[in-house]
């Protein structure tokens, strides 16, 4: 049984490769080094601006994800605000990344819901609904129901119906019924709202 070797930990320990030891460059061709540079960005005087600027230029997923994680770790309202702005970016990977990072900073993300409901861009409102869906609480349920009561965009409403279905809130039933009546020519929406109503009634 000689195949298994011990002392692995010493073999792997290689202090020279420890991250954060030497300064890394954002201009490097090696994505792993750019990633390390991103992680060092937080030491800069204005890390949020640096990280957001980088996100707009960087295309390698592994580097972008590190920037999102650092923004979430900063956890400031400024970081949340910057991420919210990315929700309307043309690049879907940036929009999704921003959404995931916001979900990882729940306190700040909750605070953004109210203003996002007033955003003109229905795509951003959809992201806000998806975000609320990932942050289950009475507060987010209230927000979803309030938005559903006035939302005029069919796609946003279909996302709202799905999210509200998961809240189990019976006071949402009239709001869902009103969605069906608001869009008589959208059978898929009636289906989504009815499914949500059934979920709530059976839940």
């Amino acid at each position: 049984m000689a195949l298994l070797k011990a002392k692995a930990a010493e073999n792997v320990a290689n202090p020279a490769s420890q991250s954060g030891v030497s300064p890394a460059s954002l201009d490097s061709d090696d994505p792993m080094e750019r990633r390390r540079a991103v992680q060092q960005c937080v030491e800069e005087p204005n890390p949020v601006a640096a990280l957001l600027g980088l996100l707009r230029e960087e295309h390698e997923n592994i580097v972008r994800q590190a920037a999102f994680t650092e923004l979430a770790a900063l956890g400031t309202s400024e970081a949340a605000q910057g991420l919210a702005e990315l929700l309307s970016n043309a690049d879907p990977a940036l929009r999704n990344g921003a959404l995931e990072a916001l979900v990882a900073m729940p306190e700040q993300a909750m605070g953004l819901l109210a203003p996002l409901a007033f955003c003109d861009d229905p795509d951003v409102r959809i992201f806000a609904v998806m975000m609320a869906n990932e942050l289950p609480s009475e507060r987010t349920a209230d927000w979803l129901i309030a938005l559903a009561a006035k939302e005029q965009d069919a796609n946003v409403c279909s996302n709202l119906a799905e999210a509200i279905g998961g809240t189990g809130r019976r006071d949402a039933l009239p709001v869902l019924q009103a969605i069906i009546e608001r869009f008589p020519r959208e059978p898929y929406l009636a289906f989504a709202a009815e499914t949500a109503m059934t979920r709530i009634r059976e839940g």
């Binding site: 049984m1 195949l3 298994l4 070797k5 011990a6 002392k7 692995a8 930990a9 073999n11 792997v12 320990a13 290689n14 202090p15 490769s17 420890q18 991250s19 954060g20 792993m32 997923n61 592994i62 994800q65 590190a66 999102f68 994680t69 979430a72 770790a73 956890g75 999704n96 995931e100 979900v103 990882a104 900073m105 729940p106």
Partner: protein, 289 residues
Amino acid sequence: MNDMSRPPVAAPPKISAEDVVSFCDFFYKKTGISMDASRRYFIDRRLEERMAANDCKTFREYLALVKFQPGGGEMQALINEMTVNETYFFREDYQFQCLTRHMLDEIADRRGNNRAPIRIWSVPCSTGEEPYTIAISILENWGRANDFDIEILASDIDSRVLGRAQEGIYEARALHRVPTKVRDTYFRKLDNDRWQVIDDLRESVDFSLVNVCNPTQMARMRGIDVIFCRNLLIYFDDLSRRRAAEHFYEALNPGGFVALGHSESMSRISNIFNPRKFPEAIVHQRPVS
């Protein structure tokens, strides 16, 4: 005897709601483990025990000890109290089948003529059932085991469980999922109730104290081919999960795999890994290039 004449009984140290919040915040920053008020009873009891053990009269005094004690002994004692260490042999064994039927072959094929050791890391390993299961599965079920050096690393944040893992002594009922033939090959009977993992196997697993939220400790783990990280991330919040996923990415060789517990989903944590669907399990792969 009326109440007034009773000798004074030492009241248990009082821990306020704010104390618990500040403790949870501190503990989360240290360990990634996010504890909420629903576990208040559990938290209070453990804290009271540790305060009494250290003769601390106030929670503040105790927190100062935990934070500033040279050597961090009390921090470690507290971690040992707060962790949930439940584990068993051949837990979610389809993942070990996946390891010996698919993942290892893929890793071995990619090695080509390079005979660098294959490194497998069980983190968290708790009392050792998982890394020993991995070792046994490989020895029993991977036909190419003799062609490679295989290193099994096993880590946990809890020093007490690591001691027990190294000792490798288990009660008979802990072995109920272990087939008799396997038990008789890899364990020796100590007495009616206890079995010990044979020395060869115990010595082949490298146990170490690692907190997956500690960047310095994680930076030491490199060149790994497969990470089993099961039933840990459920205790973390989203941010700690993301960070852990990023540390794992760096620890892995390109093309290396992460296996999570069945209730843990990488797609909800991060998209830096590619999902790989094998017949037995879905695992998460660091892209090859």
